[in-house]
Symmetry: C2
Subunit: 145 residues, 2 copies
């Protein structure tokens, strides 16, 4: 499917199983209309992966930082606003699978839809090739801006 | 050091670097008195690892569960009370390195000290041998109770 291939290019990541990326891009409205799994479960997983990977990078990078400082740094990297900025930079909106109503109401531009899809993509990469691949993607998008 | 070896037995895990376990057991009061690193940084890391590992296990186990259900299940497994119960079962209190005042005030029995040390130990295992080892430990302690 063309949309999936284009999205992979933008992400700089090729999925072993393309169905994983498709699920990560599937908003609950499209899932409901087409009786498919939505990206919400992958988002649940991606959120935890992002948190761990960023924690791990900060832990190893700032050897003298106390817990409070690490927590602050993490909060500045992992939050809805930052996720949305990255998702927009990757133009994830145009790749989303949305239900008709959601699409008509501007769901492609909605910050929460974009942030959730980005977390779901992180979950999908983790499922596809494990923690190392997810770490590579997160480093590229969250630390080299 | 005898305390470290005994603690390893209780945990069912042998550290490549024993200093990691020592740091995980070091309360900030002891760290302060002896100019050593406390377990707070490892706790920061361990918290994120525990969250990810439990999320991952639940994601793969409950294929039909929606995000909300997964979140609920995770909250029932990862919380201060559960951490304290496991830490007490492992009798972590007797292994803690506490400052004199903290020890005199019953710091070995304090729930937060026990829960924090358990999270720090998870962080220490992750640093020592990676995610797979941390996952094994978490499965054993959080899922086979």
């Amino acid at each position: 499917m063309k949309r999936i291939g284009e999205c992979e290019k933008v992400l700089g990541y090729r999925f072993r199983r393309k169905s994983r990326l498709k699920e990560a891009l599937t908003h609950s409205s499209f899932a409901y209309e087409n009786n498919l799994p939505s990206n919400e479960r992958m988002e649940f997983l991606g959120d935890a992966i992002l948190e761990l990977v960023v924690s791990d990078i900060l832990y190893r990078k700032y050897l003298q930082a106390a817990e409070g400082e690490l927590t602050e740094k993490r909060a500045s990297l992992v939050n809805g606003k930052k996720l949305t900025v990255i998702a927009r930079k990757l133009s994830l909106g145009k790749f989303l699978f949305l239900g008709k109503g959601e699409d008509a109401q501007g769901g492609r531009e909605l910050s929460s839809n974009l942030a959730n899809a980005l977390e779901a993509i992180i979950g999908a990469i983790f499922l596809d090739r494990g923690l190392r691949a997810a770490t590579r993607f997160i480093k590229k998008e969250f630390f080299k801006a």
